[in-house]
């Protein structure tokens, strides 16, 4: 459930190794809550604070999600560093998420 983003986004200004993530969720729906918890656990273990995560509720801001080309939720997009990548689903497949983030299972 991983594939390169069809619309690569530009990294933030300046050189940085901070991983920039955007997670699209549907309110308090079960898969969305699970995706948040799974992602937070992965970030805590592998990114140790070196990341920026924005959570967007498509029930509150559907137009933004559509503008970003989101098709389903939960949906995680890695914006930076390049290459951009996307994972859909509740992020319970940790290996798949790490692959999308460009991390190795036991790497940091």
């Amino acid at each position: 459930m991983t594939r390169p983003s069809r619309k690569p986004k530009s990294p933030p200004d300046g050189l940085t190794t901070v991983v920039v993530l955007r997670l699209y969720v549907a309110g308090g729906a079960p898969n969305s809550m699970q995706a948040i918890a799974n992602l937070e656990a992965i970030c805590a273990e592998h990114l140790s604070g070196g990341h920026k995560l924005e959570i967007i509720d498509v029930l509150e801001d559907p137009l933004r999600a559509m503008g970003d080309g989101v098709l389903v939720t939960p949906s995680l997009t890695k914006l930076s560093p390049q290459p951009a990548a996307q994972v859909v689903g509740n992020l319970s497949d940790k290996a798949r998420v790490l692959l999308a983030l460009g991390l190795k299972p036991h790497g940091g």
């Binding site: 309110g27 308090g28 079960p30 029930l59």
Partner: protein, 305 residues
């Protein structure tokens, strides 16, 4: 995350046809389709109509979370997202610890979750479904000895150190639940004091309910027991409409089908309930409570102990 609760579309809830159409527009064999098949998706975005379409289980979970009549426990996070009383009683940090092991599932009517004598593979935290617990009697017959809804957990014996079910757990009203593999539940239970407290309290309630049920069967008329059962099912599914098949009721109450029909007719003639196509609707709740035996209020009072 911003507060949720209202859907962006001013239109009526899209039906299954619309959902199917939007899913069909997703790339065939793509990650979105795979995630949908795996049950990991809550909503699809309909770009053509600028609409967000929730899957039924997600819609139910959000609706239930916002219409839950019971206030959260004082120590629970105010934004506790789970409409299951056991999980809602946990602190936000405890709940997040459990979340990676919890999987949302949609349970179908009649689905068997546990069998007597078989190992428990999953525990279930119902959200808006009800599960009846059936005990074997003779000649492969079963009689209902318990009912579990959003207030509890299916598989309580695991919390008491027994990994085999003593009952058949069968879905009575279809709906959403969160489930956790037994192998993950056991260490989580050992390490979470709030979960231990809640489940020990719940085990006490189930024990007291079982005692009350024995007294009920021995003392009360079928009409009273039927009224009691309808009320309890309605409470646990948070709906005044409950699925009721007379064959199934006969099993649940442990009486002949003709007796169930007579009891149902008596309640219908007093305009306390209406019944059609396997569904029973409560028309007069106060009247139905009066028609029920005292066991209903005693059992429900146990939940506030």
């Amino acid at each position: 995350m911003a507060a949720n609760g209202h859907l962006p579309s001013p239109r009526a809830t899209p039906g299954p046809m619309v959902l199917r159409r939007v899913i069909n527009q997703l790339p065939e064999g793509g990650p979105e389709r795979q995630a949908i098949e795996a049950g990991e998706i809550d909503a699809v975005l309909d770009h053509a109509n600028s609409n967000v379409i929730l899957f039924p289980a997600a819609r139910r979970a959000i609706r239930v979370a916002h219409s839950s009549p019971s206030p959260p426990a004082p120590h629970a996070a105010p934004d506790t997202p789970v409409a299951n009383s056991v999980l809602a009683a946990l602190t936000s940090a405890e709940y997040r610890e459990l979340l990676p092991g919890l999987e949302p599932v949609a349970l179908r009517f009649g689905e068997v979750l546990h069998e007597p004598g078989a190992p428990i593979r999953y525990v279930y935290f119902p959200i808006d479904c009800t599960i009846c617990l059936l005990s074997p009697t003779h000649h492969q017959r079963m009689v209902e000895t318990g009912l579990v809804g959003f207030e509890g957990m299916v598989g309580i014996s695991l919390a008491l150190g027994v990994d085999v079910s003593s009952v058949r757990a069968q879905v009575q009203c279809a709906g959403a639940a969160l489930r956790m593999p037994a192998a993950r539940f056991q260490p989580a239970f050992r390490s979470c004091l709030s979960l231990q407290r809640e489940l020990y309290r719940y085990a006490y309630v189930k024990l007291a309910q079982s005692r009350q049920a024995v007294a009920c069967v021995a003392s009360h008329r079928i009409e009273q027991r039927l009224a009691c059962w309808i009320l309890m099912t309605s409470d646990r599914s948070r709906s005044s409409v409950v699925a009721l098949q007379q064959d199934h009721l006969s099993t649940i109450l442990g009486v002949r089908r003709a007796s169930v029909t007579l009891a149902s007719l008596a309640l219908r003639s007093r305009k306390l309930i209406s019944a059609r196509r396997g569904e029973t609707t409560i028309l007069n709740r106060a009247g139905l409570e009066s028609a029920s035996c005292a066991c209903y209020k005693r059992v429900e009072a146990l939940h506030s102990t």
